[in-house]
């Protein structure tokens, strides 16, 4: 552990936030015309858009499930979303995030009502400053609701972590890079069910308890922002 405290000074973080504060958020629903549903989400310097198509016919046919539909996610960083230009198309990291996103969203959708069909969720990160999978999922959840997909509830995501031995909420780039733990989660805040959970770093159960508590509080604030964006679509259709 390095002695010089760079990320945390008198309980304040490099961007002036307290340990339990989220970055500034922005959200919007219905941003694209061709997609069945779409959404935008921003947390500080990280922003993503998402589009939903379906339920629609799944090809190839051999992947169809007779009793329920499936939900497929594609997560991708645009080439200009990071410091050094990234090669276009999903990387190994991107594919893994696509996979865990499917796990995060599938359980909230009534997939049993769409045998053989698919719901496709496409997420593109426009700008990456840590927490990209959470921000992308927040946009995706807005897009699903905007598409009119029947769901048990919204999925809201944010990360907690540890910097300089202190649990904090919603890491930004520099904190993520030099931090000790990154803990992204996604959950249904109405039922308290956590549907995405990943963690990198060294910690223990007690600290995890603390960080999860922070992340859950964060998700509740995210859910309010998502709600705001979706409620606005009612006004637009007046």
């Amino acid at each position: 552990m390095s002695k010089d405290k760079k990320l945390l000074k008198d309980g304040k973080r490099i961007d002036g936030r307290g340990i339990g504060d989220l970055r500034e958020m922005e959200a919007e629903a219905g941003i694209f015309k061709r997609a069945d549903g779409s959404g935008y989400f921003r947390m500080g310097g990280t922003e993503a858009v998402a589009a939903v198509f379906g339920p629609r016919e799944l090809h190839p046919k051999h992947r169809q499930k007779p009793k329920r539909g499936i939900l497929q996610c594609r997560y991708n960083l645009t080439p200009f979303s990071v410091e050094d230009r990234k090669r276009p198309g999903p990387s190994r990291r991107g594919k893994e995030i696509g996979k865990v996103s499917e796990g995060a969203l599938s359980s909230t959708v009534f997939l049993e009502e769409f045998p053989t069909a698919t719901i496709d969720v496409y997420m593109e990160v426009i700008s990456a400053d840590a927490g990209t999978r959470c921000v992308a999922l927040n946009a995706a959840s807005i897009a699903l609701a905007d598409a009119g997909v029947p769901m048990r509830g919204l999925i809201s995501a944010c990360a907690a972590g540890k910097i300089e031995d202190t649990p904090v909420l919603d890491l930004k780039g520099e904190e993520d890079k030099d931090g000790q733990v990154d803990l992204p989660i996604a959950m249904n805040v109405d039922t308290d069910e956590i549907t995405l959970l990943q963690m990198d770093g060294m910690t223990d159960t007690e600290e995890m308890d603390e960080m999860l508590e922070l992340a859950i509080k964060g998700c509740k604030k995210v859910a309010e922002k998502q709600r705001e964006a979706l409620m606005k679509t009612f006004e637009d259709s007046r």
């Binding site: 997609a35 589009a51 594609r74 080439p79």
Partner: protein, 257 residues
């Protein structure tokens, strides 16, 4: 999604023959155009452009690399376009197909042939290290005429781009140095329908036109041409198209100046 374009295509055709468009536009009118710059915070330059319901985002990144052997003292321009599955129910994931490749290459040629970028100023060490200017076009929502929207986005993103610093093999992105564009090449696509010309074709219209030409003009010169899709043109028709594109590209240039 059920393809209803056949019916809409007939309606679009009938309309154009009567001098109007499905969306009520005149034949030689653009849809509503919006250009916002500085929209991707990690990019050195960026722009989001909407033409009606078509929406593209363009980001410019700088990097350092080896020069090409035949231009050892010049920087490198790279243009790439992604027509991902997000933009349309008919697109699939995977590497860029023919449409995306044509899109990026036409825009590449417009920028290159017009010598819009000062590539000779982008040499760091002759034969060893030069700046790479990487323009990435990302299609978000496809309702036709991606070409003109993307080209406008590319030049708008390049106009606002700042070049980072470079020291001891490290790119210093917090430094922002001037990057001056010499000219503003603007692509304008003119489509022929029977004996009429239209600009800014929508997705449905792109299906019914008898041919399209994308014409790229700088302030003074015509710098790139691409006849797209099926159909053919006579010389006199082309001359008329070049002049129409020139007039219309001036309109687009005003938006980004």
């Amino acid at each position: 999604m059920m393809d209803i374009t056949e019916i809409e295509e007939q309606a679009a055709l009938d309309k154009i023959k009567s001098g109007k468009r499905l969306d009520g536009r005149d034949l030689k009118k653009f849809r509503d155009i919006k250009v916002e710059t500085g929209v991707a915070k990690k990019a050195e330059g960026s722009a989001r452009v909407t033409f009606g319901d078509s929406k593209v985002i363009v980001g410019v990144k700088f990097g350092v690399g080896h020069p090409f052997p035949d231009t050892p003292d010049e920087g490198i321009l790279m243009v790439n376009a992604e027509l991902g599955p997000m933009a349309s129910p008919n697109f699939e994931s995977g590497p860029p197909g023919k449409e995306a490749t044509e899109l990026s290459r036409v825009i590449d040629r417009g920028l290159r042939e017009s010598e819009a970028l000062p590539l000779e100023d982008l040499c760091i060490e002759e034969g060893e290290e030069v700046w790479k200017v990487m323009v990435d076009i990302h299609i978000l929502d496809h309702d036709g005429n991606l070409m003109d929207a993307s080209a406008l986005g590319a030049i708008a993103a390049l106009m606002e781009a700042k070049i980072p610093g470079y020291e001891d093999g490290k790119v210093l992105r917090e430094e922002k140095h001037d990057f001056k564009i010499r000219r503003t090449p603007i692509a304008c696509t003119v489509a022929k329908v029977g004996d009429r010309y239209i600009i800014d074709p929508s997705l449905v219209e792109e299906e019914i036109v008898d041919g399209m030409v994308t014409v790229t003009w700088t302030e003074e010169e015509l710098c790139s041409l691409q006849k797209r899709g099926n159909g053919g043109f006579k010389k006199d028709e082309l001359i008329e198209i070049f002049e129409l594109a020139r007039e219309k590209s001036d309109e687009l240039r005003k938006i980004i100046e």
